[in-house]
């Protein structure tokens, strides 16, 4: 930490710009934030390095708090659905297991749907998580139509009066049109079968991801309306700063964060902790 003694000048602003960019906040957002600080400096409303850093933290917190939203599924009457989507390897299946346990230990009846019918041993993997979370799993054979699995899971959820239907989908690159069409089809099944059920569609994003996260969010939201982000692997050294731009430009809130590979390694997103960690 270099604050507390440094001269208040362009050099300080450059150092802040470096912190922002190396946190994956992205060039244009970082420049915009630093420019705003430059204006505050000119106005004379900042007089110490501490005030400068505080001003930056305040700006970041403003961006995050404007879009902050808690999970809309979980404390209501009737069935709610949570669908996890995202590119390959970000932690969707693991997050599905973690969320299942979270709601189950809270007394909710949770049903899991294995909608990744493509990848080797994907269903086996979710099966282990369902066992660990003590929740039933709806699955079809490998290679089955994911939309059919979801349809089946909806039927089961209604019949068993489940509180939450948790849908794990296959990893897919947002650039693959046919895979994004497959996702749209799953969305249509939900629209048609349970239009009244509150729905969360969460983009599962790896905290190590760079600027490509923006393309991911844009294209996924064109296929299924996204209600939020799960930011995973924050137990590493990556800062996950891309969520600042996603909040600022796409109004996407982070709802949950993954902090490890165990079933309990899931936390609610806390903007204060997150912004503080950016400067550590």
């Amino acid at each position: 930490l270099f604050f507390g003694g440094g001269k208040l000048d362009e050099e300080m602003l450059e150092k802040l710009e470096e912190i922002l960019i190396t946190s994956d906040i992205g060039v244009s957002t970082s420049l915009k934030l630093v420019d705003h600080l430059r204006q505050l400096l000119k106005k004379g409303s900042i007089n110490t390095p501490e005030q400068l850093q505080e001003a930056l933290k305040t700006e970041l917190l403003d961006i995050l708090s404007q879009v902050a939203k808690p999970m809309s599924v979980g404390d209501h009457q009737g069935l709610g659905t949570i669908m996890l989507v995202g590119v390959n390897g970000t932690g969707k299946t693991t997050a599905t297991g973690k969320i299942a346990k979270l709601f189950h230990q809270d007394g909710k009846k949770v049903i899991l749907a294995a909608a990744d019918t493509f990848r080797a041993a994907a269903i086996d993997q979710l099966e282990v998580w369902a066992y660990r979370a003590e929740c039933p799993l709806i699955k079809h054979a490998h290679g089955a139509d994911p939309a059919a699995v979801v349809f089946d899971a909806i039927t089961a959820s209604k019949a068993r009066q489940a509180d939450i239907l948790l849908i794990d989908t296959a990893g897919r690159l947002h650039t693959k049109i046919n895979l994004m069409e497959e996702l749209k089809k799953i969305g249509r099944v939900l629209d048609r079968e349970i239009p009244e059920a509150p729905r969360e569609t969460l983009l599962v994003l790896d905290a190590t991801t760079g600027q490509n996260a923006i393309q991911q969010a844009k294209l996924f939201s064109e296929s299924v309306p996204l209600s939020g982000i799960i930011l995973t692997k924050l137990d590493g050294t990556a800062k996950g700063g891309i969520i600042i731009t996603l909040a600022d430009e796409m109004k996407l809130p982070v709802k949950l964060i993954g902090v490890g590979e165990g079933i309990d390694d899931l936390r609610e997103f806390n903007p204060d902790y997150f912004v503080t960690a950016l400067f550590e």
Binding site: I21, G91, E127, V128, T208, N212, A213, Q215, K233, D235
Partner: protein, 295 residues
């Protein structure tokens, strides 16, 4: 894109007369922004721009009728140099067929190691090798099954001792099994791990010590951002990576992190994984990557 931006900068400068070193700086600022947007590490960009500047303020640019294109050309060439190793380009991978070669996979969680292990086995089998895969990930649910399904697809034996035996033991026994079966290539799949997890990094060191792999591939996701430099440095210092595999290049991530990884590990980029199918593995092409990074 970068070409258009530089062209418009130089058009504006040209109208003011002769080009100077200061004018070049403005164009280099644009190059810097483009590289940062492509996820090249902040410090790596700084060093790279310094290198480019030395050439960019030379006659080849200042006297050129198309200075914008000249700057791009210099940047392109320097990128390719960095990516390919230039005159110090490494010898191609050509393991001897008359002995057992052992390759180890390493990297962060979800980077594509298990898939890449199977792809490598498939590629080398087509080149006449007799490969075997070892299921060294005992932690991730159904990781062993995943490798077994892939192995069956390509008819390559998968050695496994289940998930209650240590990965070091599994790799040792896999080596014995490969020798007994007269295989000449053994590929070790390992669990994804954080570069800051001391215990798991030690596990990789122990495997390395036990079976002495001739290649240790760091498998990295093309969409990784600024943290790539920390990850690569730590993996390289802890276990000595000998090559890089960049995965998910079939997406639209610019992949600038590869520059950072290459500059801190100094190791050759061997393969590019370009899809989820088993045949989606190619030799890495520096020229194609340079164009992709510049955007």
């Amino acid at each position: 894109n970068l070409t258009n931006k530089l062209d418009s900068i130089f058009k504006k400068l040209r109208s003011k007369g002769v080009l100077t070193e200061d004018n070049i700086n403005e164009s280099l600022r644009e190059v810097r922004l483009a590289l940062l947007e492509a996820d090249v590490n902040f410090k790596v960009v700084k060093e790279f721009i310094e290198k480019v500047k030395v050439r960019a303020v030379g006659q080849e640019v200042l006297k050129s009728l198309t200075p914008g294109q000249q700057v791009i050309k210099v940047v392109h060439e320097e990128l390719i140099e960095l990516l390919s190793g230039g005159t110090h380009a490494p010898a191609p991978l050509n393991p001897k067929k008359d002995k057992l070669n052992i390759w180890m996979m390493a990297g962060l969680q979800g980077s594509g190691k298990t898939t890449a292990a199977a792809k490598l086995a498939n590629l080398m089998k087509k080149q006449g090798y007799r490969p075997m895969l070892a299921a060294g990930d005992i932690y991730r649910p159904a990781a062993i099954q995943q490798l077994e399904v892939l192995g069956q697809k390509i008819d390559v034996p998968v050695f496994s001792l289940g998930d209650k035996v240590s990965p070091v033991e599994i790799c040792k026994k896999a080596k014995e099994a490969a020798e007994a079966k007269d295989c000449n290539l053994l590929i070790l799949d390992t669990a994804g791990r954080l570069h800051i997890d001391e215990e798991l990094m030690k596990e990789l060191q122990d495997i390395r010590e036990a079976v002495s792999p001739s290649e240790t591939f760091l498998v990295c996701d093309a969409m990784i951002g600024q943290d790539a430099v920390n990850v690569a440095k730590q993996f390289h210092e802890s276990i000595g990576t000998t090559g890089l595999i960049l995965s998910k290049l079939d997406g639209d991530a610019r992949g600038g992190a590869i520059l950072s990884i290459r500059s801190v590990t100094g190791q050759p980029i061997r393969f590019a994984s370009v899809g989820e199918k088993i045949e989606d593995l190619e030799l890495f092409l520096p020229e194609r990557m340079a164009s992709r990074i510049l955007g």
